[in-house]
Subunit: 218 residues, 2 copies
């Protein structure tokens, strides 16, 4: 009984780490679709989005069953409660990857982004996927030191985000309002994706230490 | 003991409804600050934002204590698990009101928005506050019919949001890129605020019926 319970807890962590992998892959493909105006790849992300919902539903059901049947306490209870929060963050990361893919599809065969900003979005995509990958590792290992790294890793995303606005609002922007609106929203999607990955790591810190790190400034 | 437990559950619902009231007031003031370029009011929203965090922390602690000490099952367990999700949505609504207030402060004494789009933002603000108010009522009463209304109430927000993009990207927009970028993000904040209010209502439907309504398209 006790053994089954522990393996259920581990299964829940695995589900969350898998979900993290899925939303990481989605963002990687969505970014490539965006940069290459690749319609087939955008479609792939859009049609695979239901997978995130399935994983979320399963993790939520499993968390609920653990609470109902095992009445966990102490660290185990923190694991389950945190997993409920984390499913929300991961679902949102999936939605944001989906938004990127939809933007790529909406403007096809045109490119959403002017050539000169593409390197910044390539870098935001790279940072986003690295954050998702590290968050998955943190969920599996509960490594607090690694979890804390996400906070500073995400600073790179915030810098890129700020730099995008400087470019958009500066005198050298020659691509008009419509391209600026697209780029504004896309930059926001990446920045939010990063924030949610950080939130996932913070929940892991709470599981291990019993204390939430200071609130995320968003 | 049983009585104390029931009153703890009711207290948790009250806390969430109060939090809903606080983020509703924040959005009302932030919208007024935005429309009137009112710095004092923007500052007020910014300095009161910690109140949302306090309420969130308290609700999360109370939910955790209920799980640890009472091991609720069936509907009661759904109430507590849903409250964990709902605190996340309400916290985010508070953040979004804060973003609106910060935008008003950042451009002060200039107005963030051109005169011609102000009526749309006034209306988005009105819809946002009405959604928060109805969500608070739904948390208190668990009225499924009222909860379902939020979905269609939010359609008005989505229409306003879409209309804003048509205006921004249309040939009649004469306010340049910078104003368009501000308006894009602000419109997004209101639209997301509405989505979170709908998510709160959906969690209440789940509490009562045991089934989540079909996922929110965001």
């Amino acid at each position: 009984m006790r053994e089954a319970y522990q393996s259920k807890l581990e299964e829940l962590a695995d589900e969350l780490a898998d979900m993290c992998g899925v939303v990481g892959t989605a963002m990687r493909k969505a970014t490539q679709a965006l940069l290459e105006a690749n319609l087939a790849l955008a479609q792939e992300v859009i049609s695979e989005a239901t997978r995130v919902d399935e994983l979320r539903d399963r993790a939520e059901k499993d968390a609920f069953a653990l609470l109902a049947l095992q009445a966990p306490v102490a660290t185990d209870l923190r694991v389950v409660v945190s997993s409920i929060h984390v499913t929300g963050d991961l679902k949102r990361m999936g939605d944001l990857a989906l938004h990127v893919a939809r933007a790529a599809r909406r403007r096809h065969p045109a490119s959403v982004l002017p050539e000169e900003v593409k390197p910044y979005f390539a870098e935001m995509g790279r940072v986003a996927c690295a954050l998702a990958e590290k968050a998955a590792e943190v969920i599996r290992t509960r490594d607090v030191a690694r979890a804390k790294e996400l906070d500073s890793d995400d600073d790179a995303m915030d810098d890129l985000h700020r730099h995008m606005f400087t470019m958009l609002m500066g005198p050298k922007w020659t691509h008009g309002v419509s391209a600026a609106v697209d780029a504004t929203l896309l930059a926001r999607f990446y920045e939010r994706y990063g924030d949610h990955a950080v939130a996932v790591a913070r929940r892991t810190i709470y599981v291990v230490t019993g204390h939430m790190p200071t609130p995320l400034e968003v």
